[in-house]
Amino acid sequence: MTSAPRPFDTVLVANRGEIAVRVLRAAKESGLRGVAVYSDPDEGSLHVENADQAVHLPGTTLADTYLNGDAIIEAARSTGAQAIHPGFGFLSERADFANAVKSAGLIWIGPPAAAIDTMGDKISARRCMIESGVPVIPGEEISIGGDSDHLGVLASAAARVGYPLLLKASAGGGGKGMRSVHEPKMLRTEYEAAAREATAAFGDGTVYVERLLKGARHVEIQVLADSQGNCIHLNERDCSLQRRHQKVIEEAPSPAVTPTIREAMGEAAVQAAKAVDYEGAGTVEFLLSDRGEFFFLEMNTRLQVEHPVTEMITGIDIVQKQFEVAAGLPLGLSQSDIGITGHSMEARIYAEDPSKGFLPAIGDLAMWRAPAGPGIRVDTGVREGDAVTVDFDPMLAKLIVHAPTRTAAARRLDNALSDLRALGVITNIGFLRQMTTHPDFISGGITTDYLDSRDISDFAEPDPDPAILVAIAAAASRFGLDRAGSGSSESFVDEHTGHSGDPFRTLTRSFP
């Protein structure tokens, strides 16, 4: 399986925000011209500033703009871009778009459309993994006839799957008709309860029995594959600290992964990638049980938000590798070249209010000063003066640290978070500081159910000394430091929020 080099000198980035900035910078460093696309609210945003050329996408909805494949392909044609990088989100996992890019004679910086298709569907992905010997969560679908010995059928399936297990009505949903069974003697009671709960759902006679993994960790393997059949992995990332399936802090390596698990999981990930003839960068996600067993969860056929922690510990620029693979070049790396240097952590900085159920926050970034120093990296799509609005994802930046040990990395992350001066928009920075210094995090024992089973007030920041804050506010007023108020010449300033202009406009610079 070889293919001729497909050189390109100009790449269009079909995305916005932090990841568009990241990819455009990598393009520049690879000696490529970068083309950005932007919708009205993003005029003058950081990703446009980082591009050699930018194409405006008219329209008001995402379907008109960042999800408009035809307009994006046309933008590539008109600017002479020979390749398209989709970033993550938006069109990155749309097989039809990958095909359209190729049909237009352009290079798709991503995996083959068939790989996106297979991995994009949970059932076909699971089937494909079983066929290629990648461990999946034990489970089977069984048909229960009306008058046959349904408990016998169920019990033998349950014995094969193993306890504790989950009973699911395959036509059910929303938690209805779903029961956990911890030991065989409870099977009958729980099955009957489930059947009562979802009579309609169980009416089709199909029940799904799946092993219940409690206290599991989310561990994923970064893979890289070229068009010549080489496929390697870049070790794991641990993303167990999640809130409602949204990752909060990611790290590499995982504190729960031993060299033995790493080798086995890495091999399984490479197997998974090879099973779909993968090309480029991808991530195979696993659940790691407290007994050290791991099971395939899904494969993300794109770059991931948390890719920087892998770059930090391996020294490999994953985006540059994506460019090389898309250009038909060999990886130029073998598995034995991949090591682990130190420990890396990434905290996602969100405009959200942890004290109000993580409600997304909006406003103007009156001050945005990112920390710097050895072992600190900030990937961001915003600048001081930018407005944060409801238009897009509330992630402002990713703060990534690298240090010789996990303990040092956690301390460096806390220090960097405390140096991040984000004023004007409520963020989760204080919550992240409480998290990075929490004994449960320091000990490395976080599982995916951790945050959702906690009272968030456990992570409330310490009460400040009111005298100090009030004295500072009074002194700042006396000194006339209210530059935000005087510096803005916007005609409309919302008195309640201090937000200038239409709250639905975004990333317009309203400060000098």
Partner: protein, 166 residues
């Protein structure tokens, strides 16, 4: 100017004395009563939005930004919001904060009407903002003076949804 911190409705007044560019805190009142405080002296740094803050003899740096009536303050690795109020003004941000729209969004349900007496914590409205449901609850017992929106209405952030009297 009166000040409140974060979500708390407590009002503070600070008296400062100026000595060669250093402002010292001479008196702090908390809801009208004098409150103890540390020795605090503040000078302006040559950098625009930076203050040198001396607290009981130790030096700290504060970065500040004014947004509307609020001072955003970064000091000792923490970010705080101090709200400014005209002396004697009604509490618009903390005490009745629940009665304004926390985000731009859409009203889903209206559970109160003008003239109705409500108890503290009673849900008055339910709104949807950024795909999340948010309950607007009465911050105190009282009489509903007006309900300014109906089901299905779009509201801007900060819009007064319900006015509540005693």
């Amino acid at each position: 100017m009166e000040w409140s911190i974060g979500e708390s409705g407590v009002r503070y007044i600070a008296k400062l004395s100026d000595s060669e560019g250093t402002l010292s805190l001479t008196e702090l009142t908390r809801d009208g009563h004098e409150a103890p405080h540390s020795e605090i002296g503040i000078t302006r740094d040559s950098q625009g939005a930076r203050l040198l803050v001396d607290i009981d003899g130790s030096a700290h740096i504060a970065h500040v930004a004014k947004v509307g009536d609020d001072w955003w303050i970064h000091i000792n690795g923490r970010i705080h919001v101090v709200h400014g109020h005209e002396p004697g003004s009604a509490d618009s941000t903390a005490g009745e904060g629940g009665l304004t729209a926390p985000m731009p969004g859409t009203i889903l349900e209206v559970h109160a009407k003008a003239g109705q007496r409500v108890r503290e914590g009673q849900t008055l409205l339910v709104m949807e903002a950024m795909k999340m449901e948010h309950r607007i609850q009465a911050p105190k017992a009282g009489e509903v003076l007006s309900v300014n929106f109906a089901e299905g209405d779009r509201v801007d952030m900060g819009a007064t949804l319900v006015e509540l009297g005693d």
